[in-house]
């Protein structure tokens, strides 16, 4: 069958008419398949939700027990059938529990990658290439300028700064789900074994990662026992990026602003945000990873969901691969 008949963009998100389900819908629907727990992909208020167990747990943590009507945990690699459509989840390497969703009917297979990355991440399973007729990819960093460096070298920058400025509080902005835990795990891998302080918004998710067997070392809440700012001198404090522009950050002595994000590749981005030490750590593919993945899967068609669609579509054209942008709305372009 024609791929457009199997899956197409509708106002509420990618829709499979035969199976009567949406993938990562941006508005409440009767039946939703969710790739991962980031809030622009996993929203509350759907009737039935199918996702990996971890993604369902994360949604429960973020939205509470009543986040949907009914939920069904799908194991990776398990084939389930929804109204005659064969559905399978495969690891996406983005954050804990993240999955690509493969949708197949009448011999046509479409893989919706969700958000994904190709490099090693100690906090989640690695991306698994799945052969398909249409590969639906994100393009958050879909410009040739994005070449994310080795994350170990990025963490070394932070460790060097801690030695160079031992009197300052090293405040790291990192998204609460995935990035924060990955930064902590990477720091531990680099041998940093001091306690790491976290913003309250990170507590439940860090607890959850640990309950899933991910070693984050000693974590303490970044709250003041007494009114003594010196407590945080020379420490690493991790919080959601917005928190550091907020009054919350005033509890720290001479904060050195750090931001862990793929956007930090661009100097002006760092400068605008007042970041002193940018760490290029991304949970998305950079340009070489995107193009390598498309080549590796060997698909004949690529659909691009969100991000810098035009450059990736152009690259596909040059490679002789049919490609088109889906112009989906509602996904956070700045999402990291």
């Amino acid at each position: 069958m024609k791929p457009d008949a199997l899956l197409y963009p509708a106002p509420k998100g990618l829709y499979c008419e035969i199976g009567d389900f949406y993938i990562d819908p941006v508005q409440p629907v009767d039946r939703a398949l969710i790739t991962h727990g980031h809030s622009d992909h996993a929203r509350s208020g759907h009737g039935q939700v199918l996702a990996t167990r971890e993604t369902l747990d994360i949604m429960r943590i973020r939205y509470g027990e009543g986040f949907c009507g009914t939920s069904q945990a799908v194991a990776l690699g398990e084939t389930i059938t929804v109204n005659g459509v064969e559905v399978r989840f495969h690891p996406a390497g983005h954050v804990l529990g993240s999955a690509q969703i493969s949708v197949m009917a009448k011999g046509t297979r479409i893989v919706v990658s969700g958000d994904y990355k190709r490099r090693r991440d100690p906090t989640c399973l690695a991306f698994e290439p799945v052969p398909c007729d249409v590969f639906i990819t994100e393009a958050t960093f879909g410009l040739p300028v994005f070449h994310h460096p080795d994350d170990r070298a990025e963490m070394q920058k932070l460790l060097t700064s801690l030695k160079q400025f031992p009197e300052r509080t090293h405040v790291v902005g990192a998204y609460a789900l995935g990035k924060a835990q990955r930064v902590i795990a990477l720091l531990r891998e680099q041998g940093y074994d001091e306690p790491i302080y976290i913003h309250g918004a990170l507590q439940k998710l860090c607890d959850y990662y640990r309950s899933e067997g991910i070693d984050l070392g000693e974590i303490r809440p970044a709250t003041l026992a007494a009114d003594d700012k010196q407590d945080f001198a020379g420490t690493v404090v991790i919080g959601p990026p917005a928190a550091f522009a907020d009054r919350w950050a005033r509890r720290f002595v001479d904060p050195l602003a750090i931001f862990a994000s793929g956007w930090m590749m661009i100097r002006q981005r760092a400068k605008q945000r007042g970041v002193e030490l940018p760490l290029v750590i991304s949970d998305h593919c950079d340009w070489p990873e995107l193009t390598r993945t498309i080549r590796e899967i060997g698909t004949s068609q690529v659909w691009v969901t969100h991000g810098r669609e035009e450059a990736l579509v152009r690259w596909c054209e040059l490679e002789g691969i049919a490609a088109r942008p889906l112009h989906l709305v509602g996904y956070d372009d700045e999402g990291e």
Partner: protein, 537 residues
């Protein structure tokens, strides 16, 4: 090049002066020779390197990249060197290593025009992203990292636990890659001995007169001079070599050929560089705005020389002929200086006149109502003081005239850095003017100090509670005739500006007081500021 590139990346994003100095000093300690010397030269602006045109870099890139993809990338990043550094992909099999900075520079300096293209391509292939950026900025001559030569010298002083005046004194006698300098700073060699004459000598600085500073001092022990609103310079002519330096030791000779040409005496003098006529030619001294027309130029046109003639109002002498006279007292030096100026070109040199006074009260009166608009206060110099480098308290005082004040309305606020990263602490303020029949606020300046911590809390709260629009880290706040925040702004002077919409630019603005007792419509008008400029010229 990697270490240098990392240093640049950090410096660009580090706002605090002390943190910059530490980053620089740490680099100078750890980087090998001659890399650190070339890095110093690149930062201090003393590196001579034939530059490569941006068009060539673009061509090199398009040899191997799709033009459409390049355009998308360039549009997104906005800076050519950064775009190229990011999108550049070495050919299959070439793994980036590192080219020492010194090697890269020496290679470029010895490469003929014909080979530049292939050398640059080869280097881009061998460097990693961040080093490529540093390299491209170096070869295209666009290294702007917010670090002055002065700051670099401060870092050198820190590295070798020396006084910065020692570095400044040596600076112009040395050249990249500064091997003897670093050996001395690292304690491996003696202080370099200079062969080049006419080097810069650190200047003697004054301390401001503070509350009670003059109590118990006898006016008879001091001479007073007007403090002119120009720039402090040192003019040297030793053994036929003539140089003009700013007070921090930056050479500015090329911008003032008229003054240098007229300096046909032998020695080193200290004075104020001004534009206009000398007292000896009986013509008026012109404003700092006029002097600015002559500053920061590599070459000067005849028209500029005619319209903005420069001269030096001399106030001290360090070397008379080749004799160091800095140990002589003020009066003895002044006598020598008087002789020297007397014989020099009347159009280009005059002697800073002494201001007679008999009591501090009288001097205070003179300070507040100076006889010339280009005077910004009084200098006080002890008659028995030798000329000593640096800012010791006692021998020289400066006593400025009162600052100017206006009431302005807070319009925009930007988040600060470091300690202030969670505060809106950079404030743009405006005054009223009529545009198309409407009362409108036009921005006239920006200030980020002058307030106490408690006042900052109040301002920050106002900004957060009254934001009307956000542009990245900047917020626009409510500023209406009957609702807003009035600030009393103090500043040292006003210049005309073509860059600001209001047409005026403030010098050294700061927040003097929060005027919560006033409503925005009571704030000052642009016409008031314009009149202040008019009265000066």
């Amino acid at each position: 090049m990697k270490a240098f590139a990392e240093l640049l990346d950090r410096l660009v994003l580090t706002p605090q002066r002390n943190a910059k100095i530490r980053l620089l000093a740490d680099y100078f300690v750890t980087a090998p020779d001659p890399d650190r010397g070339y890095a110093l030269a690149a930062i201090a602006g003393t590196l001579s390197l034939a530059t490569v045109k941006p068009a060539m870099i673009r061509d090199l890139l398009l040899e191997r990249m799709d033009e459409v993809l390049f355009r998308y990338s360039y549009d997104y990043v906005g800076d050519l060197a950064e775009t190229v550094s990011l999108v550049w992909e070495p050919p299959e099999g070439v793994v980036p290593d590192d080219i020492p900075l010194g090697d890269a520079i020496e290679t470029l300096q010895t490469t003929g025009r014909a080979n530049v293209r292939s050398i640059v391509r080869d280097m881009l292939d061998r460097l990693d992203t961040s080093a490529r950026f540093a390299f491209l900025k170096l070869v295209t001559g666009g290294l702007r990292i917010g670090v002055s030569a002065k700051l670099a010298k401060q870092a050198l002083a820190e590295m070798g636990s020396k006084d910065v005046t020692e570095i400044e004194t040596l600076w112009h006698g040395l050249a990249p890659p500064y091997l003897p300098l670093f050996q001395w700073l690292a304690g491996e060699a003696d202080r370099p001995v200079l062969s080049t004459p006419a080097v810069f000598h650190s200047v003697m600085l004054a301390t401001p007169v503070g509350e009670g500073d003059l109590d118990g001092l006898d006016p008879k022990d001091f001479a007073a001079e007007w403090k002119w609103d120009g720039i402090r310079v040192q003019l040297a002519n030793i053994g036929g070599t003539r140089r003009l330096y700013s007070r921090s030791g930056d050479e500015i000779s090329s911008a003032f050929p008229d003054v240098l040409e007229a300096a046909d005496f032998s020695g080193v003098i200290d004075g104020e560089l001004l534009v206009g006529g000398t007292a000896r030619t009986n013509r008026a001294t012109r404003t700092f705005s006029d002097l600015q027309q002559r500053l920061n130029r590599k070459t000067v046109s005849h028209k500029m020389l005619d319209e903005y003639p420069a001269f030096i109002r001399a106030y001290d002498v360090l070397f008379s002929g080749e004799t160091d006279v800095r140990a002589e007292d003020f009066l003895a030096r002044r006598a020598m200086l008087g002789d020297l100026v007397e014989r020099a070109s009347p159009q280009h040199f005059d002697l800073s006149p002494l201001v007679p006074f008999s009591s501090w009260e009288e001097l205070d009166q003179l300070r507040s109502e100076p006889p010339d608009p280009v005077i910004e206060g009084i200098m006080l110099k002890r008659l028995d003081s030798p000329y000593t480098a640096g800012r010791a308290k006692g021998p020289w005082f400066k006593w400025k005239r009162a600052a100017y004040n206006v009431d302005a309305v807070l319009m925009y606020a930007q988040r600060g850095h470091g300690k202030r990263s969670s505060y809106y602490s950079d404030f743009t303020f405006g005054v009223w003017t009529e545009i198309d029949g409407m009362e409108t606020l036009v921005p006239v300046g920006k200030a980020y100090f002058g307030f106490t911590d408690a006042e900052l809390e109040i301002l920050d709260r106002f900004v957060r509670d009254n934001t009307t629009e956000r542009f990245g880290p900047v917020r626009a706040v409510r500023a209406e005739p009957d609702f807003g925040f009035v600030l009393e702004v103090a500043f040292e002077g006003l210049n005309r500006s073509t860059r600001h919409k209001s047409g005026v630019a403030m010098r050294f603005p700061r927040i003097a007081r929060l005027r919560q007792d006033k409503l925005p419509h009571e704030a000052d008008r642009l016409a008031t500021l314009q009149a202040m400029i008019e009265s000066k010229s």
